[in-house]
Symmetry: C2
Subunit: 407 residues, 2 copies
């Protein structure tokens, strides 16, 4: 893609109303823009990153048997009344709206009820199970204070998977599979080494739920981490009893700040019972389906990567997430154009800075700010070759276009 025609050029200054690093860098880099407090829009560069993250998540969900759906944002209050959650006292982030005839509707803040209700139309027998259903859909959350850029917004795409099994044993097996899929996802997102499996409150139906917490000083959560064992406990369940149960010792735990990048819940029959999602087992008995839910917010993941991996020059995108693999800085535009043509003919993802009236210094600064894995420079000095530098290294070297294709 030619940078000259791309909408969303870099900005030298971040808007004054943005205090979080992720919003500052993503807005300055031309990835996102603020629509209003807690609501952001994705510019072409930002959407490329978001789609890459979604594709990584999609691949790992498909690999464990996930089937992709697309549910609605408008929701029928009736299904929420069945589960007892149609109330600001139970869910304090409701957005609601109304039909012309004054019928109240909900805007989806989550989809447990909607998926459970939907599956009552398709699941009758044990033969119809298991089902692992997921989607990428917008969630609306009426947050009192929206801050922290993409970390906490009033509207965001979420991947939510729901598991439907016959028994708790089957749920537990899948739960473990999904946990491992999440570990793979965060590794591919480049934040795996800082992300810890964390015990959190399980609500009414389960002792625990589990979070994936990424260590970050600007995170909203406080967790207690046993680095050696590689597990953590959320502040909300940090009690002597819980620690004893897990064999954790207070003196071996660090209190650290973290960002919750994923969470998984053993819902069991919390929603299937009130919503009537039953199946007939091998002996003819009616039983409630045993459920779990598994969430990751792609845009929150994007923000976390920025918070964690940026340096004083800008963003450092991991390879699988980067908007483009290569950022080609054209200083000798005639020569650079040839390299660009060769790269796109070979289906290489490249952002080509072909601007005519911009200095080399500005182009380099923009390249560092945008943060693609490899910077390629073509200038009079490179004499038919290409200067390549990794975003995370200082040294560059001269290579041929064939070498670039092999990177």
């Amino acid at each position: 893609m030619r940078y000259s025609t791309l909408l969303g050029k870099t900005k030298k200054e971040a808007p004054k109303d943005e205090t979080s690093l992720n919003a500052q860098l993503l807005i300055r880099g031309g990835f996102i823009q603020k629509e209003m407090a807690g609501v952001y829009v994705f510019l072409p560069l930002g959407l490329r990153v978001l789609k890459n993250i979604m594709q990584i998540i999609r691949e790992e969900m498909n690999a464990i048997g996930g089937q992709e759906f697309y549910l609605s944002s408008l929701q029928d209050p009736e299904i929420w009344k069945k589960s007892g959650r149609w109330s600001d006292e139970v869910i304090d982030v409701w957005f609601r709206t109304k039909l012309h005839n004054d019928t109240e509707l909900g805007l989806a803040n989550t989809h447990e009820e909607a998926f459970t209700q939907l599956l009552t139309k398709y699941i009758q027998s044990y033969k119809d199970l298991p089902v692992y259903a997921y989607q990428f859909q917008t969630k609306f959350r009426n947050e009192l204070r929206a801050k922290s850029g993409l970390l906490r917004t009033r509207e965001f795409i979420m991947k939510d998977l729901y598991s439907f099994n016959r028994t708790e044993e089957e749920l537990n097996t899948f739960y473990e599979q999904c946990k491992n899929a999440y570990i793979k996802i965060f590794k591919r997102l480049g934040i795996g080494d800082k992300t810890y499996y964390t015990f959190a409150s399980g609500g009414a139906f389960s002792k625990y739920s589990h979070e994936f917490q990424t260590l970050c000083e600007t995170g909203e959560d406080t967790i207690y981490l046993d680095r050696k064992k590689g597990i953590a406990v959320n502040q909300e369940v940090y009690t002597d009893d819980v620690l004893a149960e897990m064999g954790l010792k207070k003196q071996e735990l660090e209190e650290v700040r973290a960002i919750e990048v994923g969470n998984i819940f053993p819902l069991k029959t919390k929603y299937s019972e009130p919503l009537g999602l039953m199946y007939t087992d091998e002996t003819g008995q009616q039983k409630p389906v045993v459920m779990g839910s598994y969430g990751i917010g792609p845009s929150r993941s994007m923000a976390t990567i920025v918070e964690l991996l940026s340096d004083d020059k800008g963003i450092v995108w991991p390879k699988e997430v980067a908007p483009f693999k290569f950022h080609l800085v054209g200083l000798d535009l005639a020569e650079a154009e040839k390299v660009y043509q060769t790269l796109i003919k070979n289906n290489v993802e490249v952002l080509y800075d072909d601007r005519e009236d911009v200095s080399a210094g500005e182009k380099f600064a923009d390249c560092d700010l945008i943060g693609c894995p490899y910077r390629l420079v073509v200038s009079k000095k490179t004499q038919g070759k290409i200067e390549v530098k990794s975003r995370t290294e200082q040294d560059s070297k001269l290579i041929t276009v064939t070498d670039v294709l092999a990177l």
Copy 2:
């Protein structure tokens, strides 16, 4: 994909509350399900179709220089007040919601204002133009009566592109390019031969807008069609003056029903002026940006395809739209499994009916209902070969798996 594990099996009967053919067949086929009046959810098969349609549209929008964005559903009333459209008297399909502090927000029913406002942050000079920005985003429309299945819903994904040019001449040039891109899209969607470029009302700023109307008896619109010339006039501008201007003669026009599958509007400066989207031209003068807008609803296209191309046995998906190219009916499951493995190893899109306790007749009926382009049958009778039949033909023939790969 194995049909045995797919969620969303076929149903013999359509729900009684669905009167439109598209909703009946799409629900029976396991593509969609109703969440509530005017709100549908996409099951895995339906989402595959929807994604195929979106990808066709995306490719053609990229081909004419479109850049993909992703704006928000929550919208700031302030930008709508500037254009004078924050009112049920101007837009009668508003859905609104509120923050906890009682601040009212809009739910996007369209994005002219949002895109115009966004681009004020990026467009200053003539050098920043043109920009062709599009997205696939949810639109919420508070329809009084939602009926006709996916043809008219309260929530749907729409592709909306907005063009930003310096002059009306440039707008007209792009308008023509986008018109041609739309013609390509509807051809690829399999409804090109029934879709006509139609003159419609242009609103306050332009004499005409243009619709793409697909002939269909169940369509909501009435148009007057000159088949020879291949153009039509919407009822709303069907006057002697308009006909005279276009050189159309009443006696050569047919009154026909049609579905509006796309529309394009020359907005000119209708939104750029009130929202302050100005640029400095080559002589230093400030001028308003000249805009156009271009919409297609992927789910309405999906419904139109079903209305138009189905037969008494079910849906007939065009090749580029079909959820799978092949529907493999396994009657000899051991042999069929081998064929399935060969096909998926070759990255062929195949839906494999591997159900054990379902009759051949039921499997054939489901295959016709679901409507993939090719039916493959593997049975004791096919003796190591595969019986292939096109969805639209009666005759089948025996071919090898190598032949299937070459189809």
